[in-house]
C-alpha cells in the first residue's frame, strides 16, 4: 500500500475514533499497526500520520503541535536503534545455530558408550562450563582384556579449544596398540606443529590390563589424579611428570605403572574439578579427597555424579571451568 493511502486510512481511523466509535477503531488500529510492520513503516512515520491527521481534524494549540516535534525525534531515534538491535539479534541467532551445530559435532568426538569389563567399573562425568567444552576424554576397548583411558584439557577456552579437540581425537585414532608414552610423544609432535603458540594441551593417557589389573600411564603436564588404596583407606596423588603437549617438539614422556587390588580406584580429572573456589578459598586436595571418601559406598558412576553435585552446591551453582572426572574401580 502506498504511503498516501496509509495516511488516508489512518486519518479515517482517527476521525472515527474521535467521533466516539472507540472499540471498533481501537481494534482496527491494532490490525493496521500489524500490517505496517510488514510494510517496513517506521514508528516515526506513524507519529507523522498522526500529526498530519490531527492537523486536518482539529485545531491544535501551538504547544501541542510543537510537542510532536519532540515525539517525532524520539521515535526516529527509537526506530533506528530498534532496527539495529534487530539486525544484531538476527546475527546472534545465526551464530548460535552455528555453535549448536558445532556442539553436536563435538559430541560425536566423545564416546557415547563405554566398554564393559569383568571386575572393573567406570564412572564418568563431563560438563562444559559454556556450550563448547575444552575437555576431552575417552575410554576405549583396545582388545579382550585391555582398555585405554585418555583425559585432556585443551587450554584456551571456547571454540578454538573445541576445534583443537578434533586434532587430539584424530591423532589418537591413528595410534591403536601403542604404549601411552609413545602415543603422547606422537601427539605432542602433531599438537606442537598445529596449535596456536599460546595454546597447549594437558593430558593423561593410560592402558588398563584387566587380566593383571595393572594401569600403565604417561602424563603431559596434566592435573594429578588420585589413586585410592582400599586396604589403607588412603588417597595418593597419581605420580607423573611430563611437559604439556604443544610446547617442545622433542619432549619425552616417562611411563608409570600401578597395580590395583580389589576396591582400589583411580580418579582422573581436569582442573575444572580441582581448581574450585569456595567463597574466597580454593579447595585443596585433602578437602577434595575427603569429599570422595564420603561417596565410596556408591558405584563409580555415582561417585562422579555426586561429587559434581556437591561441588556445584558448595560453589553456589557456578561452574567456571569445564568439569570432567573419570573413576575406574577394580570391583573383583
Amino acid at each position: 500500500m502506498h504511503r498516501r493511502e496509509l495516511q488516508e486510512q489512518y486519518e479515517k481511523l482517527l476521525s472515527n475514533f474521535l467521533a466516539g466509535d472507540r472499540e471498533a477503531q481501537l481494534y482496527m488500529a491494532q490490525q493496521l499497526s500489524k500490517s505496517l510492520v510488514t510494510q517496513d513503516i517506521a514508528p516515526e512515520d506513524i507519529v507523522d500520520f498522526h500529526i498530519q491527521a490531527l492537523e486536518k481534524l482539529v485545531q491544535m494549540p501551538e504547544p501541542v503541535r510543537e510537542s510532536f516535534q519532540l515525539l517525532l525525534e524520539m521515535m526516529m531515534e527509537y526506530g533506528n536503534t530498534y532496527r539495529q538491535h534487530n539486525v544484531l539479534r538476527d546475527k546472534q541467532k545465526q551464530l548460535e545455530s552455528e555453535i549448536d551445530l558445532a556442539v553436536v559435532m563435538q559430541q560425536t568426538m566423545l564416546p557415547q558408550v563405554l566398554p564393559e569389563f569383568e571386575g572393573v567399573e567406570f564412572g564418568l562425568i563431563s560438563v562444559p562450563a559454556k556450550k563448547m567444552s575444552g575437555d576431552y576424554y575417552n575410554i576405549l576397548q583396545e582388545n579382550d582384556v585391555t582398555f585405554s583411558v585418555a583425559i585432556a584439557d585443551i587450554v584456551g577456552k571456547g571454540i578454538p579449544a573445541a576445534l583443537c579437540m578434533s586434532m587430539i581425537k584424530y591423532g589418537m585414532d591413528a595410534q591403536y596398540g601403542l604404549t601411552p608414552a609413545t602415543r603422547l610423544h606422537h601427539l605432542n609432535i602433531v599438537v606442537e606443529q598445529n596449535i596456536d603458540p599460546s595454546m597447549f594441551v594437558t593430558m593423561l593417557l593410560g592402558n588398563y590390563d584387566t587380566a593383571r589389573h595393572s594401569f600403565r600411564y604417561a602424563v603431559a603436564g596434566h592435573e594429578p589424579g588420585f589413586f585410592y588404596r582400599a586396604c589403607e583407606q588412603r588417597f595418593y596423588d597419581l605420580e607423573g611428570r611430563g611437559l604439556v603437549l604443544g610446547v617442545l617438539r622433542d619432549a619425552q614422556y616417562p611411563e608409570y605403572e600401578l597395580n590395583l587390588e580389589v576396591g582400589d580406584m583411580i580418579v582422573l580429572m581436569t582442573d575444572g574439578v580441582s581448581e574450585r573456589k569456595v567463597g574466597m578459598h580454593y579447595l585443596n586436595r585433602q578437602e577434595l579427597t575427603n569429599l570422595i571418601q564420603g561417596e565410596l559406598a556408591h558405584t563409580a558412576q555415582e561417585i562422579a555424579e555426586n561429587l559434581y553435585r556437591r561441588l556445584l552446591l558448595m560453589t553456589n551453582y557456578e561452574l567456571p571451568d569445564d568439569h570432567t572426572m573419570i573413576v575406574i574401580r577394580r570391583t573383583k
Binding site: D153, V155, G156, K157, D196, P197, S198, M199, F200, T202, A220, G221, H222, E223, P224, R241, G242, L243, V244, V247, L248, A251, D271, E275, Y282
Partner: protein, 110 residues
C-alpha cells in the same frame, strides 16, 4: 579484577612487575607488552615479577608459553620470579618449570 604492568628497563634487561590477576580477560594485556619485548634486539633478558599476582589460570600460563616460544626464537632469556606457591605448583605440574626458570617467592618453599 584487573592487571597492571609496570616496566623497568636497564641496559639489556627489562623487568615487568605484574599486579592483579592473570586470567583469560587480562592475559591479552600481558601478551601485548611481553611478546614485543622479548623480540627487541636490544633486550637479552626479560624478567616477569609475579609477587603481586594473586591468581593465574591456564590462559595466563598460555601467554607465558607463547612468549617463551618467541623469546627462544629471539635468543632472549625469559624468566619468572617471585611466584606464589600456588602459581609455582601450576608451573611444576605442567612441566614448564623444567624449560623456563621459575623462582618462588623469597622465603617460600615449593
Amino acid at each position: 579484577m584487573n592487571l597492571t604492568i609496570r616496566m623497568e628497563s636497564q641496559s639489556e634487561q627489562s623487568v615487568l612487575y605484574l599486579q592483579g590477576e592473570l586470567d583469560a580477560f587480562t592475559a591479552p594485556k600481558l601478551s601485548e607488552q611481553l611478546t614485543p619485548l622479548v623480540q627487541q634486539p636490544s633486550i637479552n633478558q626479560v624478567i616477569v615479577d609475579m609477587s603481586n599476582v594473586s591468581y593465574m589460570d591456564s590462559t595466563g600460563i598460555g601467554t607465558i608459553v607463547g612468549a617463551l616460544k618467541t623469546a627462544k626464537r629471539s635468543n632472549c632469556d625469559l624468566r619468572i620470579v617471585n611466584v606464589t606457591p600456588r602459581i609455582e605448583r601450576l608451573f611444576r605440574i605442567t612441566g614448564l618449570s623444567e624449560i623456563i626458570p621459575v623462582e618462588p617467592m623469597e622465603g617460600e618453599e615449593a
